[in-house]
């Protein structure tokens, strides 16, 4: 599925904003690679820096008070240092974005077909009529019934689900190699979410595009992702293949995150397990491991920033940032089975078959 050469390489990305409250470090040393054809889900709670990471790749966080460090390579192009003109060529055509809120991301006073045609014409020399035909075809592909008529609709004439389909059509219009989807289905009802995810998955597979999916919904992640990066307070605390993260999570924050989801397919617990406390303010973060004040397993070492390393022997793609040794983690997970991570019938299978799927 994935080729050897990654399509996108981000290393030590740092993004901070100068504000009245001091320097807000939104992204603090994020490193990841995106392979061709891969779906990488970036998960985490509000304010963990997942959207800022995604938007920075397209230069959407550039402003007078923003500071950047590190590097992000798309092929041979360095995105952080790229000029606006260079970025203009990449945005939409090479790397496209699907935004969360279709109601405020589409132009309310322009017909949806025109908005799609405009993007096509920005990157390719085609006539208005050709662009319009392409728009109709795209609307059909994303599952809008009666596309030839709906192409002339205004966004307000469409339901939320239909508008989100338009957003996806817009992102796909120039056949990009990377799609960044920021909470693409969060604002939708579950039945509509299921329809759109199914269609999105099909289209992405057809096109062979790579996807960065930013979300807080671990259910959506299981539906679509190949790999997961878990972010907390500006850092990736753990990354690995979908099954590794779910069945062999290494970081205490991942344990908490997986544990606190109420499950439809399990007997209901007396109380929901929680992560105590609150995420830290981005302007004033704890020294060393960011989770330290909330982590029940913290010890002296945690005052230093843990590196992102593979701690499970043999699983080089499964990295985490925690000082606890692999044996100690295993012990801790024995103490509270069922609460930490997903245990049960699938775990044994994974351990036997080696890591990764």
């Amino acid at each position: 599925m994935s080729s050897a050469e990654p399509i996108l390489r981000v290393s030590d990305l740092e993004v901070s904003f100068a504000t009245d409250e001091g320097l807000v470090r939104a992204v603090d040393g994020v490193t990841f690679e995106l392979a061709a054809g891969e779906v990488l889900a970036v998960v985490g709670e509000s304010g963990c820096g997942k959207s800022v990471t995604a938007m920075t790749l397209l230069g959407l966080t550039r402003s007078a008070n923003a500071r950047f460090a590190g590097a992000a390579y798309y092929g041979d192009t360095e995105l952080l240092g790229a000029s606006d003109a260079e970025l203009q060529q990449i945005r939409g055509a090479e790397i496209a974005m699907v935004f969360q809120d279709s109601a405020s991301s589409l132009n309310p006073v322009q017909r949806v077909g025109r908005q799609i045609a405009e993007q096509i014409q920005a990157h390719e020399k085609v006539t208005d009529a050709q662009a319009r035909e392409r728009a109709i075809e795209l609307l059909e592909r994303v599952g809008i019934p009666n596309a030839r008529k709906r192409v002339d609709a205004y966004p307000f004439e469409m339901s939320g689900g239909m508008r989100q389909r338009v957003m996806i059509a817009l992102a796909l219009s120039c056949d990009p190699s990377v799609l960044i989807a920021d909470e693409p289905t969060t604002a939708l009802d579950v039945t509509i979410q299921a329809q759109i995810l199914e269609r999105f998955r099909e289209l992405v597979a057809q096109m062979g595009a790579s996807v960065i999916l930013v979300t807080h919904d671990l259910g959506v992640v299981t539906d679509i992702a190949d790999r997961i990066a878990v972010m907390y307070a500006g850092r990736i605390v753990e990354q690995g293949a979908l099954d590794e993260i779910f069945y062999d999570p290494q970081h205490p924050y991942t344990w908490g995150l997986l544990g606190s989801i109420p499950r439809l397919d399990r007997p209901r617990p007396k109380r929901l397990p929680t992560i105590p406390g609150l995420p830290p303010s981005l302007a004033d973060r704890p020294q060393g491991c960011h989770l330290r004040p909330r982590c029940p397993h913290e010890f002296d070492q945690c005052a230093k920033t843990p590196p992102l390393v593979a701690r499970v022997p043999g699983a080089t793609a499964h990295l985490d940032r925690c000082w606890l040794s692999c044996d100690r983690k295993r012990e801790l997970r024995e103490i509270e089975p069922g609460v930490i991570g997903l245990r049960g019938k699938h775990e044994v299978e994974l351990t036997k078959g080696g890591a990764g799927s």
């Binding site: 009802d189 509509i192 299921a194 995150l257 499950r263 439809l264 397919d265 929901l272 929680t274 609150l278």
Partner: protein, 359 residues
């Protein structure tokens, strides 16, 4: 166990005005359409459905923030359907609401003490007693009494929702309507608030109407769950029953649409994606309102509105072709008095071949 709240054939229709030159009513939105249910003291009823199904309108009507167009609401035996002004005040004390958006539902220019103290002030509590009570409430919801002079913007989303809960508790209500109380919060914070609500219920003997679209959270908190679609109750069942054997195809579709946060189980599961979108509530479909999206629909579904049938274990469902029930259970089922008045006399059948495939 006595009934705290009884709702019979409640309807809330909103007029749509228009027309050239002369303003007249051209249509009406059937937001809540003939809903009957009751709640006993101390229980939690979950109310689920997609946006626009009328769940928020129903909760607002129950609180009498809206004047119902039909039906009756009885609170502790008193008919409050059309109560006004002074007659409504004692009931208002006992019914409170926690709103969805903790950012929009707290006045940004008032201090926490004023926000929580406002219901007390409105109901005539003296200033000294008020401060003491506010401090007590803050502690009750897991905040510090020192927070009394802060403004809402100094708090995180989860803490704000705690303030919203403290305000709802101020008048010692019997019933609290929770309108999507955790959907704006992150998962780890959601769990904290859900646990808080459960602790409070146990300590104070509260009754909750928990309105939400997230079926997994609803299952965790509820004793019974009502599924609404286009203003009507499709299914009303004990919480676990609904998840084990949903009778109405819509309930089944809703459950099936939720991705399970477990990769292997998710892959193994067969999923049916419900086609289409909810119809316009101005012009609801004939017969069963769900028939245009239902894979089991037959002629009878298109013409006759199904009555709510009571199956074993107090499990109500309004469907002509019920799922997950045996022919014997269908034969034993009785027409529930909670059925909409417009429903036909047709009894459900598993006879149709499509229904067999699904059961």
């Amino acid at each position: 166990m006595s009934s705290l709240l009884e709702v019979e054939h409640l309807t809330m229709h909103f007029p749509v005005r228009g027309g050239t030159v002369i303003d007249r009513q051209v249509a009406k939105v059937h937001a809540v359409d003939d809903v009957t249910f009751s709640m006993v003291e101390g229980e939690t009823v979950g109310l689920v459905g997609e946006s626009g199904c009328g769940k928020t309108t129903l909760s607002r009507t129950l609180l009498r923030l809206l004047e119902p167009t039909g039906g009756t609401i009885r609170f502790r035996g008193t008919d409050v359907t059309h109560a006004k002004g002074r007659a409504l005040a004692p009931m208002r004390r006992q019914m409170q609401m926690v709103f969805q958006d903790p950012y929009a539902s707290l006045n940004p220019r008032k201090r926490v003490g004023q926000i929580i103290g406002m219901p007390l002030a409105l109901h005539g509590t003296k200033r000294d007693a008020r401060e003491e009570r506010v401090a007590e409430l803050l502690e009750r919801v897991g905040l510090s009494p020192e927070h009394i002079n802060r403004f809402p913007h100094e708090f995180s989303g989860g803490q704000r929702q705690r303030i919203g809960v403290a305000r709802a508790l101020a008048l010692e209500p019997r019933l609290i309507i929770l309108d999507e109380p955790v959907s704006a919060l992150d998962v780890s914070i959601q769990a904290q608030i859900v646990n808080l609500l459960e602790d409070l219920q146990e300590a104070l003997g509260l009754t909750y109407l928990f309105v939400a679209h997230d079926l997994s959270v609803v299952r965790h908190v509820s004793d019974r769950i009502a599924v609404m679609y286009l203003g009507k109750i499709m299914e009303l069942s004990p919480a676990e029953e609904l998840y084990l054997k949903p009778i109405h195809p819509y309930a089944e579709a809703l459950l099936g649409a939720i991705p399970i946060p477990d990769p292997k189980e998710n892959r193994e599961r067969e999923r049916v994606v419900l086609p289409g979108e909810p119809p316009n509530p101005m012009n609801p479909p004939s017969g069963c309102v769900f028939h245009p999206r239902c894979e089991y629909a037959t002629d009878v579904c298109r013409s006759v509105a199904p009555p709510l049938m009571e199956y074993a274990g107090g499990h109500l469902a309004a469907c002509h072709h019920p799922l997950n029930v045996t022919p014997r259970e269908v034969a034993m089922a009785k027409r529930s008095p909670a059925s909409p008045l417009s429903a036909g006399d047709e009894t459900p059948s598993l006879a149709a071949p499509v229904a067999d495939a699904g059961s």
